[in-house]
């Protein structure tokens, strides 16, 4: 909290259309990144952590089951730190778990990419099996972004956010390494693994378009000097992605048309199922301590 930054409150006043979660009534104008921005980062982490943890006990081999467990734990850990930071800045009765468990679907600010099931393009209630290629490709595309985001945020004048970024950067590097390693093995492995990897790339790539369309919160974070201009990361992301895809003998698909808007609170059909499962028990016992 050492950095002196324009108040968040003034940014928030401009964003009536993008409300923070239910429990943010008396957000004090704390210095640093806007709360909406922190929640965007936190929601990303919790949603992907929740998804990846679905593999726990079902991985393709014991060693990889354990490895994916570590990735999930990193994401849940990042989410906790970010929610705690947001809760502290919101004040009042906000807590990490209130933010994770008692906000509705439309209040979540994660990328749509991260909420999709480990599967091809199917509607929510048609999804059953999990496909590891989808898991790996998603972790790769998002991991490639986050090594750049955290690297930039590590230098943020918002000292609290910078500290979380420094810790998360190391984790993100490992996640990227892990996912890229598998992606190359899939792409350049067997015919089946190549087909699965290409199908997953084709399915998920369009969702990355959302990375490059800044939200109000991201713009506010940049304006406050505490965030990172995502568009400035695009060339570096392209380089990482293109290099790995080429090593994996996979083709980068042409992307056009629909741009997802999860970070604006407009999600796919899948987030509702994910949150329903994640939040159900906590919501059945409001006020309980676990």
């Amino acid at each position: 909290m050492s950095a002196i930054q324009p108040s968040v409150a003034q940014d928030r006043s401009k964003q009536a259309s993008a409300p923070v979660g239910g429990s943010a009534p008396n957000a004090v104008g704390s210095v640093g990144a806007p709360i909406e921005y922190i929640l965007h980062l936190a929601d990303n982490a919790v949603v992907l952590g929740q998804r990846n943890a679905e593999w726990c006990g079902h991985g393709p081999i014991l060693e990889e089951d354990i490895a994916m467990g570590n990735v999930s734990l990193d994401y849940i850990g990042q989410a906790r730190l970010l929610y705690q930071l947001a809760a502290t800045r919101m004040g009042g009765d906000a807590t990490e778990d209130k933010l994770a468990y008692f906000r509705d679907e439309t209040q979540f600010r994660n990328y749509t990419l991260l909420e999709l099931p480990h599967n091809g393009p199917l509607v929510g209630y048609a999804v059953s099996d999990r496909d590891y290629a989808t898991t790996v490709v998603r972790n790769f595309l998002y991991g490639a972004l986050m090594v750049l985001v955290w690297d930039a945020l590590e230098k943020s004048p918002d000292a609290d956010l910078a500290a979380i970024a420094a810790k998360s950067l190391k984790e993100a590097r490992y996640h990227l390494h892990h996912a890229a390693d598998w992606l190359v093995r899939f792409g350049d492995g067997t015919d089946e693994s190549h087909q699965r990897a290409q199908a997953a790339v084709d399915h998920l790539f369009p969702y990355t378009e959302e990375f490059w369309t800044p939200s109000v919160a991201e713009d506010a974070a940049v304006a406050a000097g505490a965030g990172v201009d995502v568009c400035s990361l695009r060339a570096a992301w392209d380089a990482i992605v293109n290099e790995t895809l080429s090593e994996a003998t996979l083709v980068r698909p042409q992307v056009r048309g629909y741009v997802p808007e999860g970070k604006h609170g407009r999600h796919s059909e899948h987030l509702g199922y994910l949150l329903g499962e994640m939040q159900g028990l906590a919501r059945a016992h409001p006020g309980a301590t676990w």
Binding site: A100, W182, W290
Partner: protein
Amino acid sequence: MYTQSFSVPDNAGQKNVAAVPSTENPELMAAFDARIDADGRIEPQDWMPDAYRKTLVRQISQHAHSEIVGMLPEGNWISRAPSLKRKAILIAKVQDEGGHGLYLYSAAETLGTSRDQMLEGLHSGKAKYSSIFNYPTLNWADVGVIGWLVDGAAIMNQIPLCRCSYGPYSRAMVRVCKEESFHQRQGYEALLVMMQGTEAQRAMVQDAVNRLWWKCLAMFGPPDADSPNSAQGMRWGIKRISNDELRQKFVDATVPQAKVLGVTLPDPDLKWNEARQHYDYGQIDWQEFWNTVEGNGPCNKERLATRVKAHNDGQWVRDAALAYTRKQQQRAQKEAA
């Protein structure tokens, strides 16, 4: 987690055991016995009687299978954990169970049986695993009760195994025990918090204890009188304390913990016996135990089918990794040529 001490013969891996003469060489046998008597350790390359090898492969692989099947009942609650802290703890714990399975499979592999052979035994239904995991986890408190009681029972059994006669097994158990100590404590602590919470939370804990208590007592295996293989295991130093002795130790340790927690253990016969200096407890339903061991418990089919599915679904992933490695090796060879 833990394998029960029941000695149900299963045929996992036995056909693949390295050829050791079945009519044991008396000189080698005498040297082996002398080392066991001196509480020495047997290492993979040492001579060992065929029956010792077979028993170890069966016991260690059953133990390993229990760990990985044991990931499922608790994994059932990862996605619904009611706080992020508990979610992280649960992922770490279930992941640890996978690690324990891995250490144990590795220990068994030193006896000349591959992990694939052991998994084949599990997937075909021939190999057994702890029957406690064939019961459903029906409310969030089950996660805490598994940590407190199931892992508590496991620790009772595993600590003596750290001194078992087979080196790789005892070393694996040392590592497992170190990690396991967090499991029981996290479970008990989670229950303490719930017992201090709402009426509904306390009811969840009591419900979970009611469902799991007797299953935990059965985990220690049949009474010593009905456990013929136990004596051989004791002789070989791969079982250190008898089923009944461990069970008594567990009951004695658990009763005061239940009191602190404020839950009732569902046994009207449970009371302190001044003469024995132990708690007496009621009759275990062995019929139900054997039904479950034999595959007819509430979740046997789900658990097994889920393991088989994960393994089959993962085949293309494992194949891809190996195919890539081979391509890389061929490329390197070509470059060198």
